[in-house]
């Protein structure tokens, strides 16, 4: 038998009908995650055709995107705090889940949160699964050795009705990252360096496998940060081979297999890593020991540089437009640029370890008076765990706002936005024009860099604040 990559093993395991020259493969989906924004039209199509949901037990729903991050305990609250359209969308989601018998982790659940945070923390994200969601950051779940990718609303309907998708086999891209990152260099800096290297379209048509000693030594939350941003390099999915770190994270989580089923699952999962002689369509290598904290300077995530280095000169009209929008100066570093808003949150960097990193830097320090700072935990579980450690007190004492779980200012759909012209240092994943609010300017960075910048009131190198 020929050698197979991790991707190839998971792909082959889910083929219901094989691909031919004329027809795509029918690929089975093990877990379908849903939220309020990309599903209403899919349910409408099912309803108009009189179709049932094939496997409601394999779909899990939550509320995160247009959901307020101020406390909501009832639908009455929702109408007070949310925009009418957002409130209506959330109501439609609740009604659809009720009508079609789909489990919804809504306002009455202590497990509600960002869809890519709750899957792993509940243990329903598992190695070897195919996982899809109407959200491009579904790539996050690949950190567990799952084949996980974002789909459109039409495909959400396909999964609901058939539990399958029509797919062409993508190409494979191995990204090998070796070396030990220095102090103050996080998983976010690694993935920003990867995207800067391959470009925002470098992974188009490919599934990435991240390998190497730097990846192996990351914990699961850091691996999720890396895989999360695969789509920012154009790849629909990014995967990391499951190992003992993966199994330790999953063991005893409520939706993970238990007892004998756990042992059987781990035995199966141990066969998933790429065979030693598996080949990839492309390979890229990166030395993590040479990395520094990264920041973006333009309007896509590929426009990222080491924090101390000068902004590259614009070589074409698109780059010129990006620099003009951002108001940055060519050949000068981003360091020292005045900051108006700092956002810590999103499916990229809102987990407990992210909040700890930021809080440890901010303990005993104050957010600059010119800065508004929002800290939004990724889930209700993350929020409770952070509060048990007193992290919320650290943020509040520093002058930051501590919110309820949700996507919040990453996408700015729920009223949490940065103002026109404001510069926001954000731990999220996209620095597109207006992403965080019309006319707002986004600088992507790690939780450490975001926290350091909040204190300084300007873009700041977190390494200067780390204990020596």
């Amino acid at each position: 038998m020929s050698a197979k990559s991790l991707f190839q093993k998971v792909w082959d395991d889910h083929i219901v009908v094989a691909e031919t020259a004329d027809t795509p493969a029918v690929l089975y989906v093990d877990l379908h995650l849903t939220h309020e924004v990309t599903t209403p039209e899919a349910f409408s199509v099912l309803r108009s055709r009189g179709l049932r949901i094939r496997r409601p037990d394999l779909t899990l729903a939550t509320l995160d995107h247009s959901t307020p991050t101020v406390p909501v305990t009832s639908l009455k609250d929702l109408d007070v705090v949310a925009e009418p359209a957002a409130a209506a969308q959330i109501r439609v989601m609740i009604e659809n889940c009720h009508e079609y018998d789909i489990e919804l982790l809504g306002f009455d659940s202590d497990a509600r949160g960002i869809v890519h945070v709750i899957g792993p923390e509940l243990g329903i994200t598992q190695p070897g699964k195919t996982i899809v969601c109407g959200d491009s950051h579904t790539s996050t779940h690949g950190a567990f050795g799952a084949l996980a990718f974002g789909i459109g609303t039409t495909e959400v309907g396909h999964v609901l009705a058939s539990q399958c998708l029509l797919q062409r086999r993508p190409k494979t891209l191995a990204i090998d990252i070796d070396g030990k990152p220095g102090p103050g260099v996080t998983a976010k800096d690694i993935i920003l360096a990867v995207i800067a290297r391959i470009g925002v379209n470098g992974g188009t048509g490919h599934v990435i496998e991240y390998r190497g000693s730097a990846i192996r030594s990351l914990d699961m939350e850091q691996r999720m940060t890396v895989c999360n941003m695969s789509i920012e390099g154009g790849a629909r999915a990014g995967m990391i081979a499951p190992d003992d770190t993966t199994f330790q994270y999953l063991q005893n989580r409520p939706m993970a297999p238990q007892g004998e089923a756990w042992d059987a699952a781990v035995t199966r999962w141990r066969n998933l890593p790429s065979d030693a002689d598996a080949t990839f369509d492309r390979e890229v290598t990166l030395d993590a020991s040479r990395l520094t904290p990264m920041v973006t300077y333009g309007t896509n995530p590929g426009m990222a540089i080491p924090i101390g280095e000068p902004v590259p000169r614009a070589t074409d009209a698109s780059a010129r437009k990006a620099l003009d929008y951002m108001g940055v100066t060519e050949s000068k570093p981003m360091l020292g640029m005045p900051v108006n808003v700092v956002f810590i949150g999103s499916c990229t960097n809102s987990r407990l370890s992210d909040l700890r990193l930021a809080a440890n830097l901010m303990r005993g320090r104050k957010v600059a008076s010119s800065v508004r700072m929002l800290v939004v935990p990724g889930s209700e579980q993350v929020k409770r765990a952070a509060e048990q450690e007193g992290l919320h007190d650290v943020f509040r004492a520093a002058g930051a706002e501590w919110r309820e779980a949700g996507c919040s200012m990453c996408i700015g759909m729920n009223g949490d936005t940065a103002g026109r012209g404001e510069l926001c240092v954000s731990t999220s994943n996209r620095n597109f024009e207006g992403r965080q609010g019309s006319g707002a300017r986004t600088v992507l960075a790690s939780p450490l860099t975001a926290a350091a910048s909040a204190i300084a009131g300007q873009i700041a190198d977190p390494r200067l604040l780390l204990p020596q």
Partner: protein, 194 residues
């Protein structure tokens, strides 16, 4: 889905690279629960000023853009999110095909499922289209050819299945459901269950 055999029109040219789905339709318009009427939100942050008035110098607001069905865009069009609202907004506005040197994966898949034709061409052809905005071109889906006004016919790739669906207005869900028995068999015989 409606049948798409040819798209014939003058072109609108937006040469900027990496136009993302947040530009095509900003997230604040995604609180809708229907795909209808999104054309007014297309490129909203580029198209309207702070007061919501159309910016007269923006391409889509110019008189020559009226009636154009084909958008020529810079490399890597449609990168970013999975929002199907992006092709919905383009179609509702009246754009039925996008020509670029590269089109992002999820946007491309979403487009094909809605009858918006993604046309990938070589750099030279793209460069010519960018330098000659407003020319009348014809996209022949059956032949996978882009016909330029100077008589050139440029090939572009579309996989056979997607082409069949476009030409015949075939809805992919119907095709998928024809495999219900195979899906059941798979569910019963696979060695482990999710």
């Amino acid at each position: 889905m409606h049948k798409v055999t040819t798209v014939q029109s003058r072109t609108i040219v937006m040469p900027q690279a990496d136009i993302d789905t947040d530009q095509i339709i900003p997230a604040r318009f995604l609180t809708t629960t229907t795909r209808k009427g999104l054309g007014k939100a297309l490129f909203a942050d580029w198209r309207y000023d702070k007061e919501g008035k159309p910016k007269p110098d923006f391409l889509l607001n110019r008189p020559e853009a009226a009636g154009c069905k084909i958008l020529v865009a810079g490399n890597n069009f449609g990168c970013g999110s999975s929002r199907e609202h992006a092709p919905w907004a383009l179609l509702d506005f009246g754009i039925h095909a996008v020509i670029s040197t590269e089109i992002a994966d999820i946007f491309r898949g979403n487009s094909l499922k809605n009858g918006l034709v993604p046309v990938i061409v070589d750099k030279a052809t793209h460069g010519w289209l960018v330098e000659n905005p407003g020319v009348e071109v014809t996209i022949d889906v059956a032949a996978c050819k882009l016909h330029l006004p100077d008589g050139r016919a440029v090939s572009f790739p579309i996989d056979g299945f997607s082409k069949y669906c476009l030409l015949n207005g075939v809805d992919q869900l119907g095709y998928l459901l024809e495999h219900a028995d195979a899906i059941t068999r798979y569910e019963h015989t696979r060695p482990w269950k999710p």
